[in-house]
Point group: C2
Chain length 210, copies 2
């Protein structure tokens, strides 16, 4: 598949490398094209599927540069987190609570098929989930069921078993996925490495009255 990766940071280059290994025709883009294989617009035009791997605080501008016509009808995987480190540590989110980056993207580009996923793990875990022991969880959210299914298939090819990928519903669930980041940052600080994740576990409901 032709894939356009927006963003030449660690996340973009890590995902692009893995997707090339899997045989996809991947171009990675940056704002002015000086890094990667071209501009946001060129790589977005190239891709049948697009991955937003830009810094979350810059994602809306990057997608404008990619060009609305290059997003239309395409699955747009939003991996970004709107983390703002300008005020120091801990970072804040530039959008949260009543809104999320995933929703902003879907609203601005209604003909893109936005799927939020992978933003809850660090780049090394994204492309090699086995480095975290045992069964651990990933999430998808988006309004387009067929787009989510296509993304789950891609995730499976990367190494995320279908049973580990929890569908949280519409793109509104991006709020929870992005607002999880401050906890992730705390866990990262405690562990000293991004090689971590969470496993969702559940039990039977207790008997009434218990």
């Amino acid at each position: 598949m032709r894939i356009g990766v927006l963003g030449t940071g660690t996340v973009g280059t890590t995902l692009a490398g893995k997707l090339r290994e899997l045989g996809h025709d991947v171009l990675v883009g940056s704002r002015d094209g000086s890094k990667g294989d071209g501009t946001f617009s060129e790589v977005a035009a190239h891709g049948e599927m697009l991955l937003n791997c830009t810094a979350g605080v810059a994602s809306m501008a990057a997608l404008e540069q990619a060009g609305e016509q290059n997003l239309q009808g395409k699955v747009l995987v939003d991996v970004a987190n709107p983390l703002d480190f300008s005020g120091g540590f801990p970072p804040r989110l530039s959008v949260c609570n009543d809104d999320s980056l995933g929703e902003q993207i879907q609203r601005r580009f209604p003909e893109a098929r936005v799927v939020k996923t992978l933003n809850t793990v660090g780049a090394p875990v994204m492309v090699d989930p086995a480095i975290v022991p045992g069964e651990h969880s990933l999430f998808v959210a988006g309004d387009d069921a067929a787009a989510k299914e296509q993304v789950v298939g891609l995730l499976e090819s990367i190494g995320w078993p279908r049973g580990r990928v929890l569908d949280l519903g519409g793109i509104v669930a991006s709020r929870g996925l992005e607002m999880y980041l401050p906890l992730w940052v705390s866990l990262f600080g405690r562990h000293g490495s991004s090689v971590l994740n969470v496993v969702v576990v559940h039990g039977a409901a207790p008997a009434a009255g218990s």
Copy 2:
């Protein structure tokens, strides 16, 4: 130990019941004392340790009613989440991102020893972690190390093994613990039950260059 539980909702009554089972001298309080064993002020005066189990959006007012003099020097376990359902579903947080309820309480009552914990699980799981299978994780955050140690001991007596309780550092980490709630709400919606939790898992950092 004499424990004062602020809040007569499900969380307060569930925790109070468990703590009584364990032999503690527990009073549960409500705003006007018509529910539970007395007013916020009366139960706060009673407790050597206090648990804030009020609705998060009402917690600051409840603690004012409890009375600053009744909080001084005491461990104040903040179990509350500032979830605001007034705008419908999904709920928003009435405070988040640059601040948290845990921090607000600690700032307003600097002589209370605030420990944020238990807010990431539902009431049935709080008092009976074994209903969720396997090893799963709880978090503590607070500025007073001795207070956290005392709370970890209490949690251990409830059924949370020490190794499952992750210390995330100062009370500022309340942000992440409270901002996790929208994801928890999504997981609750997907699973249809509050009998769920997450397990934090981590692996070794990947080799350089990998």
